[in-house]
């Protein structure tokens, strides 16, 4: 076994939930971080301490608490900016990646006709066949509202984008290219530079769903070259109810706001309003201050581990798991079989056992996996399956967790007398 700088067994101790007992007195083997990650104590405490010492509404107060709340909230924004290699004014707090992606689609929908964001009949929006519903349906709806056409990049049987036909899909009608950095089902990591290049050639705006990438490996928005990016805090050790929308300054400056209300305005009369500048323009209302502070603590935790170490360890886990799982009788991995350009998410089917039933047996072993269509229903149809069982790994997972998984799957096969 290679040694990495990250000791997952030691990290487990930072996560209170990993100490709890599951059904049948088993310890928790948590393999569902692709759905939501667990939280280290430092994140839980950061939130609690915010409430215990500096809770106040930001942006509006002249009193000390409000000043301190503001400092904590804006400090969290700076942490996110540093994490992404972004400017602090480019970071917008939302409630989730889902909100971030919808915000983009609504903002485009709010654009005046003729603006670079406004879509019309004859224009097209390009997504991929492996999108999570959150990066698919908002675009279906925007297309419906504007008369634009939705196109998509199909995937190969291996579960990679079919780049060979990119030219025929991203063309002069394309105004937006929205795609996931890493598939939450297949683990496939897409070639961002190839897609950005194709989009730039036709001056299309690029939107990156970084839900499954930002928590797992180092991201630099400048190097990625995309225009807009979204991810969720809760998948990156952070609290629930906080997400990020990042946008290139020039883009944010021109984009219309999405939610309207307090703190996002410059002036207001009964009939009209003008907007503050980004990021304020996109943060109407009293924000999730404690959530932002918690996310700040989460990204600090990740940064202190080093995102290269996080990635290296996940690759070790993935390689180990792929080797074990793909060799089991009756098991079929859905997605790339080699640990190259793929992340720590492994979907598979077990011959003769429905994913729900696999999950149920694993649960009896204290193993938490996800089963079903993983909010990527079109992808399931593409592979002609109703769903998969998905194991997804994070910093606190050990090789032993994967061994447990293998034992659990075998026991499911025995129970259902298959394999």
């Amino acid at each position: 076994m290679k040694t990495t700088a990250l000791n997952a067994q030691v990290l487990k101790a930072d996560f209170p939930i990993l100490q709890r007992e599951m059904r049948g007195g088993k310890k928790l083997t948590y393999l569902d971080s692709g759905a939501t990650s667990q939280k280290p104590l430092s994140v839980i405490d950061a939130q609690s301490n915010f409430y215990k010492t500096k809770n106040a509404a930001v942006h509006r107060g002249a009193h000390l608490l409000a000043e301190e709340a503001d400092e904590a909230y804006e400090g969290a924004r700076k942490i996110v900016a540093d994490f992404l290699g972004a400017h602090v004014d480019e970071v917008i707090f939302t409630k989730s990646a889902t909100e971030s992606l919808n915000a983009i689609a609504y903002s485009f929908g709010n654009a005046e006709a003729g603006s670079k964001f406004a879509l019309k009949k004859g224009d097209s929006i390009v997504v991929t066949e492996m999108e999570h519903h959150a990066n698919l349906i908002p675009w279906q709806q925007l297309a419906r509202r504007t008369g634009a056409t939705l196109k998509w990049i199909p995937i190969t049987d291996e579960g990679r984008l079919d780049y060979s036909i990119l030219d025929g899909i991203i063309d002069s009608t394309t105004r937006v290219v929205a795609f996931t950095h890493q598939s939450n089902v297949l683990g496939t990591i897409n070639d961002v530079s190839k897609l950005v290049e194709a989009a730039k050639k036709v001056s299309a705006i690029t939107v990156l769903d970084a839900c499954q990438s930002a928590p797992h490996f180092a991201i630099d928005v400048k190097k990625l070259g995309v225009d807009l990016l979204a991810f969720s805090g809760h998948k990156a050790l952070g609290p629930t109810g906080i997400g990020i929308l990042w946008g290139r300054s020039e883009i944010l400056e021109e984009m219309e706001p999405f939610l309207f209300g307090g703190s996002m305005i410059e002036t207001v009369t009964m009939t009209d309003a003008t907007w503050a500048r980004a990021p304020r323009k996109f943060e109407a209302g009293v924000p999730n201050m404690a959530g932002a502070v918690g996310l700040g603590a989460a990204l600090e935790y990740l940064t202190s581990l080093g995102m290269e170490n996080v990635h290296a360890w996940e690759m070790e886990l993935t390689q180990y798991a792929l080797d074990k799982i793909s060799n089991m009788p009756g098991l079929k991995v859905i997605g790339p079989l080699d640990a190259v350009d793929r992340g720590a998410v492994i979907s598979f089917t077990v011959e003769g056992i429905h994913p729900h039933d696999v999950g149920q047996v694993l649960d009896q072993h204290g193993i938490a996996v996800r089963t079903g269509h993983h909010c990527a229903w079109p992808l399931m149809k593409k592979f002609g399956i109703a769903g998969t069982t998905r194991a997804s790994f994070y910093i606190y997972n050990t090789l032993e967790d994967i061994d447990n998984l293998v034992v659990g799957i075998k026991s499911a096969q025995e129970f259902f007398k298959v394999g």
Binding site: R23, H354, P355, H356, G372, F416
Partner: protein, 149 residues
């Protein structure tokens, strides 16, 4: 072990050899139901004549619970009056909502009492109800249709 209380032998039997699976040509009405959280699907053909479930058949993909439950349901309602079928359905729904506190009325539910253990697993209750909800929907539509005709 709790698994055995969930997956009783009779359930696994129905799962491996489901009854009335394969859509028959006979039908007054066809419905298609899905469980959005997992993607399981059932298509159900139903005929009602003279207030009696005269034919029922189905097809679909799903987990052992949803498949077995649908299979059991078709056994239970075929040949019964719609009124009696609804009584079974209500009783079964109640059992599913019981969170493990009920054992089920075997006289009424027959094989379906084997599904009592499902009620302890809230995420699986929807699986057990998929076919039953399809039957309910289909029967309502069939009756509505025949009233209009």
């Amino acid at each position: 072990m709790e698994l055995n209380s969930l997956y009783q032998e009779v359930i696994l039997d129905h799962y491996k050899r489901p009854h009335h699976k394969g859509l028959s040509e006979l039908k007054d009405i066809q419905v298609h139901h899905v469980n959005p959280s997992c993607g399981d699907e059932v298509t159900l053909n139903l005929s009602i004549s003279g207030g009696i479930v005269s034919d029922i058949s189905w097809d679909g993909v799903g987990c052992s619970i949803s498949q077995a439950s649908t299979s059991i349901m078709t056994d239970l309602v075929l040949g019964q009056t719609v009124a009696h079928a609804y009584k079974i359905l209500d009783n079964f729904s109640e059992l599913m909502a019981s969170k493990g506190t009920m054992v089920g009325d075997e006289a009424l539910l027959d094989d379906a009492v084997a599904l009592a253990g499902v009620s302890k697993f809230p995420a699986r209750v929807k699986c057990a109800l998929l076919g039953w909800m399809a039957f309910k929907d289909a029967s309502v539509q069939a009756i509505d249709g025949s009233e209009k005709a």
